[in-house]
Amino acid sequence: VLDGSCEESSDSDPRHDFEQFCKSRLYELQVFVRSQCADATIVEEVVQETFVAALGAWAKVGAFDNPMGWLIKTARLKLARAMKQAAARNGREISVDLLVYQPFQVPIDDADAAIQLRALVARLSPRQAEVWVLDWLGYPVAEIADLLEIGPNTVRAYRGEARQRMQAMIDDDLKVRESEPE
C-alpha cells in the first residue's frame, strides 16, 4: 500500500542504526520499486537484495545524510537487471492478465484510497511513475534529478505529465461508471 509509513523516519539521526533504518524505510523502498514493476515476487526480491547490499556497505552508506538516495539508486539498478532476466526467461511471453487493471472508483475509506492511488500509479509509464512517487515521498526536484540521472526540467515535465494523466484516469473512469445503467 502507498501508505506514507515514512513518517517515523529517522532522518534526524546522522549515524543511522541499520535495523531501525530498515524497519522505518522498508515501505518507502517497496512503494518505489512497486511503482516500477507489477510482479510482486520481483519487487520483494529486489527490495531485500538492496537492503542486504546496504547492510554490507553500511559503514559507508549509513553515514550519508539520507541513505535512502543510495538505496533507491541501487534498487533501480537491481530492478533493471531482474526485469531483464525475467524477460529473457519468460521469452517475452505476455498474458492478457497483465494488460488489465481495475478502473478507478470513489474510495470507500482511507485504506481504499491508498489502494486506488497505487492502482493509478501502476497505470503510469515507468518514468512518470518513478518521478511521481519520489515527488510524493517528498524528494525535491534537484534530488530526483540526481537519483534518476536526468535534468531537473525533465523531472518537472514528467511530474506534470503524471499528475495530468492520473487526474484524467480518475475523470474518465468515473465518467464511464456514471454512464453505465444501474
Binding site: 530498515c22 537492503f51 547490499a53 559507508k60 543510495w70 494488460l99 474510495p107 486506488q116 492511488l117 537519483l147
Partner: protein, 600 residues
C-alpha cells in the same frame, strides 16, 4: 474526484499491526540473507557505486560522463553558443578510428550517420531541444571502413545557470550485435511460425512433449475416462530443462509430462482419482520449491505454482480448454500466494469464454493494443505508398510486443472478433487521417472471416469513415483456420464489391495455395519469406518464385515479396518482375505512417 484529495486520504492510512509484523519479518530475512552471503563469501556490494547519489559533486553532465564511461558508451556534447561539438574517445573507437586521432567536428559526426537516417537523427535533436526532455533514437552509422553499425542514442538538453537551454549532451552506444541478434531471432521465429505444423513432437530444451503433442495425448486420454491435468509454472530458472528432468524423476510411470508453455510443464494424470491428483500436485509443487537446482550461477531455488483441473469421463471440454483452465489455475495460485489451485471440474465453456472476452474487451478499452505500420516498397516507382498494419500489445513496461500468444488463445476461444473490429476501426481512422495516396493492409483472422456479422460491421464503418475503398486491403492467411468457408467467400466477394482489395498472406507456406487463388477474388499475393530468405543462393527458390510470379501475372494478380533483407534479394526480385517488397531492408514496423521516397 480530485487527485490531491485522493492523495490526502491515502496518506491518512495507518500502518496496521499485520504490516508491522511483515516489516519485522522482512528485516529478519534481510539480516539472515546477509549472514548467509558473508558465510558463502559473496560480496553483496560487488559492482555497486558506493558514493551518495544525493551528494555527489555532480552536475548532470558529470554524472552522464561517468555513467557513459562506466558503460563504455560514447559521449558527445554540443554547445549552442559556439556551435562546437566534442566527443569522447569511445565515439572514435565505435567509428573505427584510433583513440585521440581525429578532429572532432559536427560535420564529421554527421557524415558518419547513415544517409537515410540523417533526417531522423536531426529531427530527434530538434525534438530534444524544443521539448527539453530526453529523447532516445536508434540510427545507423558508417564506420571508417564503410561497414554499417546500429547505434542507440540518448539526447538530453543542457541548461545554463538561468535555466535556459545551452547545448545538447548525448550518448551513443553500438548496438549492432544486439540489433543483428534481434533480427536473426525475428527471422527464426517467423520461420518457426510457418513450419510449426511440420515440427517434431519433442521440445529440444526440456526433452518433453511439445504443447501440440501433449494436447494430442490429452485428447486421447479424454476418450478413455476421467482423470486430471496439472500445469506447473516454474520461475527462477534459466532453463526449464532442469526442472523437467527433476519432475521426470519424481513422476509415477503412468503420468506424462509435456512442455505446454515457455515456463510451464503439464502433467497428465490420466485415470487418477481426485484424491491422488491433489496429492501428486501438492507433492510436485512442494518438491520444486524445496529443491536446490544446480545451475551455472550456483545453487538456485525456483518458484512454482500449480493449476489442477479434473475432467470427467466423456468431458465436453477439449484438451485446449483444459490447458487454459489449468493455466488460469496457476495464475490464480500465484495471485493469491497459494501452492496450487484445483478445479474439481472444467470451467463452464461460457465462463471460460466470457472471462477471456472480458479481459480482451478491457484491454482494448484500456488501449493496451496498438498498431504498427511496416512500409511496403513499390519496386517500379521506388516509392513507399503502402503499409501493412501489425497488431502489437503493450506489455507492463509499455513496450510493444507481438501478440501471437494472445491471438492464439483468442482464436481458440472465439474472442478474436472484437480485436479484428478494433484493428479495422483504427485502420479506417488512419486512412482518413493520412495522405490520400497511402494504402493500408490489415490482417483479418480466419475466425472472423467466417463470421457473418463482420461484413455488416465493415460496411457500417466504411459509411462512417470516408476514404477511397481501394486503399484498404484485407490480408487473409491461407494457413488460417477459416471457420466457415462459405461465409468467408461471401465476405471476400462483398469486400470486392465495396472496392477494397484482398491479399493472400504467406503464399506458398501451406497446402491449398492455388486453390485459394480460384476460391477468392485475390488482388495481391504475398510470397512467403521462406522462399525469399535464400533467394540469392538457392536456384530452387528462384524457380519457385519465378513460377509464382508467372502464375500470378496470368491471373492478373500482383505479387509482393516478404522478408526482404538485403539489396541482392531486391535486385533478383526486380529482375523477376515482383511488384512489391516488404521487410527489414525496406523498413521495420513502426508506430506511425511516414510516407517517403526511397533514396536509391
Amino acid at each position: 474526484m480530485n487527485l490531491d484529495q485522493l492523495v490526502l486520504r491515502a496518506v491518512r492510512t495507518k500502518v496496521t499491526e499485520l504490516e508491522h509484523v511483515h516489516t519485522r519479518r522482512a528485516v529478519e530475512r534481510i539480516k539472515l540473507r546477509y549472514a548467509e552471503a558473508v558465510e558463502a563469501g559473496v560480496d553483496v556490494t560487488a559492482g555497486l557505486d558506493l558514493t551518495d547519489p544525493l551528494h555527489a559533486d555532480a552536475s548532470v553532465t558529470a554524472q552522464i560522463a561517468r555513467a557513459a564511461h562506466l558503460a563504455s558508451v560514447g559521449r558527445f556534447t554540443w554547445h549552442e553558443a559556439t556551435d562546437e561539438m566534442r566527443w569522447s574517445d569511445e565515439v572514435l573507437t565505435i567509428l573505427g578510428y584510433p583513440r585521440g586521432s581525429a578532429e572532432t567536428s559536427k560535420t564529421l559526426f554527421m557524415r558518419h550517420i547513415h544517409r537515410d537516417d540523417r533526417d531522423r537523427a536531426c529531427r530527434s535533436v530538434r525534438e530534444a531541444w524544443t521539448k527539453r526532455s530526453v529523447v532516445r533514437c536508434t540510427f545507423r552509422m558508417l564506420r571508417r571502413d564503410h561497414s554499417v553499425l546500429d547505434v542507440d542514442c540518448h539526447l538530453e538538453v543542457m541548461v545554463d545557470e538561468h535555466d535556459r537551454p545551452s547545448g545538447i549532451i548525448g550518448t551513443v552506444q553500438d548496438v549492432t550485435a544486439r540489433e543483428r541478434a534481434r533480427r536473426q531471432v525475428e527471422r527464426l521465429k517467423r520461420r518457426y511460425d510457418t513450419v510449426r505444423t511440420a515440427l517434431g513432437d519433442w521440445d529440444s530444451d526440456s526433452g518433453l512433449f511439445t504443447r501440440r503433442r501433449f494436447a494430442d495425448e490429452l485428447d486421447r486420454a479424454l476418450r478413455f475416462g476421467a482423470g486430471a491435468i496439472l500445469v506447473v509454472r516454474v520461475e527462477g530458472l534459466d532453463s526449464l530443462g532442469i526442472a523437467a528432468r527433476f519432475l521426470e524423476s519424481l513422476k509415477e510411470p503412468g503420468d506424462q509430462l509435456g512442455r505446454v508453455g515457455p515456463n510451464e510443464i503439464g502433467v497428465l494424470l490420466a485415470g487418477a482419482t481426485w484424491a491422488r491428483a491433489r496429492r501428486v500436485t501438492e507433492y510436485l509443487v512442494e518438491a520444486i520449491r524445496a529443491q536446490h537446482f544446480i545451475t551455472a550461477d550456483g545453487r538456485v531455488r525456483a518458484r512454482a505454482w500449480g493449476g489442477l483441473v479434473r475432467y470427467p469421463k466423456e468431458s465436453q471440454a477439449g484438451s485446449h480448454d483444459l490447458l487454459i483452465d489449468a493455466e488460469s489455475g496457476w495464475r490464480r495460485a500465484k495471485a493469491v500466494d497459494r501452492a496450487f489451485i484445483a478445479h474439481s471440474q472444467p470451467v463452464a465453456p461460457h465462463d471460460r469464454q466470457s472471462s477471456y472476452r472480458d479481459r480482451i474487451a478491457t484491454a482494448l478499452r484500456m488501449d493496451r493494443f496498438t498498431l504498427f505500420a511496416q512500409p511496403i516498397l513499390e519496386l517500379e516507382s521506388n516509392e513507399i505508398s503502402r503499409y501493412e498494419l501489425l497488431l502489437r500489445v503493450l506489455d507492463e513496461t509499455d513496450g510493444p510486443q507481438p501478440p501471437s500468444a494472445i491471438l492464439d488463445t483468442a482464436e481458440r476461444l472465439d474472442a478474436v472478433y472484437e480485436i479484428d473490429l478494433w484493428v479495422l476501426e483504427r485502420a479506417m481512422e488512419l486512412l482518413t487521417a493520412v495522405e490520400p495516396e497511402v494504402r493500408l493492409q490489415v490482417n483479418v483472422s480466419g475466425r472472423s472471416l467466417g463470421d457473418a456479422r463482420l461484413i455488416t460491421e465493415v460496411e457500417r464503418m466504411m459509411r462512417r469513415h470516408r476514404f477511397g475503398a481501394e486503399r484498404l486491403t484485407f490480408e487473409i492467411t491461407e494457413t488460417a483456420l477459416i471457420g466457415n468457408l462459405t461465409e468467408a467467400r461471401r465476405f471476400a466477394d462483398r469486400i470486392h464489391e465495396l472496392g477494397c482489395q484482398l491479399a493472400l498472406d504467406d503464399f506458398g507456406s501451406g497446402h491449398s495455395s492455388f486453390r485459394y487463388l480460384k476460391l477468392f477474388p485475390i488482388d495481391l499475393v504475398k510470397i512467403d519469406g521462406e522462399f525469399i530468405d535464400n533467394l540469392v543462393d538457392s536456384e530452387q527458390d528462384q524457380v519457385v518464385v519465378r513460377a509464382l510470379v508467372q502464375v500470378c501475372q496470368a491471373h492478373g494478380v500482383q505479387t509482393l515479396a516478404e522478408c526482404v533483407e538485403d539489396e541482392a534479394q531486391l535486385r533478383v526480385l526486380r529482375e523477376m518482375g515482383v511488384e512489391l517488397a516488404q521487410g527489414y531492408l525496406i523498413g521495420e514496423p513502426q508506430p506511425g505512417v511516414t510516407r517517403g521516397v526511397r533514396c536509391r
